[in-house]
Symmetry: C2
Subunit: 300 residues, 2 copies
Amino acid sequence: MARTDARYREAFNALLDYCAELSPRAPMPSESKLCEIVGVSRTVVRRCLARMEEKDLIAWEGRDKRLLRAPTAEDRIAQQGGLQRSTNLEQRFLEWILKFDVPANTPLSVAELSRSFKVPQHELKEFLAGLSRFGLVARRKQGGWMLLGFTRDFAVELSDFRAVLELHAVRQAVDAPVDHPIWSRLEILRADHLALMNRIETDFHAFSTLDETFHGAINSVVKNRFVAEFQKVVSLIFHYHYLWDKTDEKARNEAAIAEHLAIIDALEARDEEAATIAARRHLKTSKTTLLSSLRYHDLA
Amino acid sequence: MARTDARYREAFNALLDYCAELSPRAPMPSESKLCEIVGVSRTVVRRCLARMEEKDLIAWEGRDKRLLRAPTAEDRIAQQGGLQRSTNLEQRFLEWILKFDVPANTPLSVAELSRSFKVPQHELKEFLAGLSRFGLVARRKQGGWMLLGFTRDFAVELSDFRAVLELHAVRQAVDAPVDHPIWSRLEILRADHLALMNRIETDFHAFSTLDETFHGAINSVVKNRFVAEFQKVVSLIFHYHYLWDKTDEKARNEAAIAEHLAIIDALEARDEEAATIAARRHLKTSKTTLLSSLRYHDLA
DNA sequence: TCAATGGTTTTTTATTATTCTAGACAAAAA
DNA sequence: TTTTTGTCTAGAATAATAAAAAACCATTGA
């Protein structure tokens, strides 16, 4: 019960690795130095040292710590099964919602999600609390959480908000200095777009990734933590929706490539007016696509 | 330990209130009806009914539940001390940071905050997880949380982001139909501003609230959950910073009133160009004020 | 026959208790 | 002095647990 000692186990093995570098009988660094080396508190380091002494790996008396023998594979401590990655939970969660088309107003069971995502319950709760800031989920009066989900309103507001941020980014990009990395990125993107256009008949589904890269590049001009945070979610949602709505995919992507190229042209010409118009047109198309994919699913 | 029965206690009293309306010997509604009435699960309702039967308030046999006597004040169940409001935790937390000028990179102790705000630990964790979406706090590698706080970068990015949102709102407002509530709100605000201008010598500190109302009105034109969510935090931060930086407060507020009036004038003239310029000027002033208040505190 | 209701059980949530970890302090050594 | 260690206290992560929700099934009564 209670807190796991995964940290101690990891630290112990890390210390063994460090000792392997050391020559036998060499004095070991001070406890606080070892803390820095394995990135853990002195409490844990001392626990590790105690075990090493017990296993006759080191002689430890006061400040004198000496390696007695080279550590072997058997000395290593087993990692408790779990070690489940709670990284990219966000991505996995959104992927789940969009791929399985979880409908709006679905109650979310923390217990169930915790099992399927192999993540401790409390971590999921914190994650959901974070998502509630984006209005994607909300607490229920009876307790627990509920997916507000991709309703029509949500999609409209998301698209509008995205448009506000991205038009701002476009305006900033026009004013970017010549040595700004955006210009070389745009050149590469232009080439990629033209290349894809040539093999569009077969590779039209490769557009989704390109789209994400393109919008990422545009938004990278704006150095703002709030924008960046939103962008992460926005792009993920648009990305999966694109993957998912297969109607007229080739035609849509072909049109989108043309729209992207128009934006690149206008940006490189430093023509704010034209760039804004081109961006607005493309964002409008995106919004329409997102909405129609929702409509399609409402019928299903 | 474990979950409290506050819900049961509240439900029981609510049921008593409901019974008080009933005439004695009257049959009570079905369990599921009672659930809807008090907004609680059947499990809790049945626990309440069991207690009512035990206290000889009702006769209960199968579907036949009859009130035996009118409930008295003594029948009520005591609410367990706590009932601590975890509402407006956000406001209280930001208030604490800004009022006590908690510096950036301060480690936040969940245990301590939990005590001082009288809120269960896990609720605080969820709250902090939410705030981390705004980049105001972050997890530490060693565990726990840390206030990233109001650094210069944070203030700049916050101001910029606010400007993006608010300029968008201004552009929307210009296009708002004549019967949109914004116009009457602006008329009232104009009068309020003029009134405050007349008594500025004595009441200049009343501007802070007026400022919040003004920006709230402008932003109310944009109906967007993302904007609204951010606006809550943004306005709170600006609000407290205004309250807090006392240098040249009268002169600053007087100037700000003039800037507000210029925005109102331009909006009512439906002049997008002028409105944008006026708004941009005001936002720039705000940003400068916010930054200088930080500089002032850095020295302290 | 069937919808609504009640008894019962299973599952999930909220919260505490517990173990591990971090950090602080003072004594000891260099 | 300055650094290092022994000791202690407070805090964080997590499992255990009581309460609540929800599902299930039998029963009632139209």
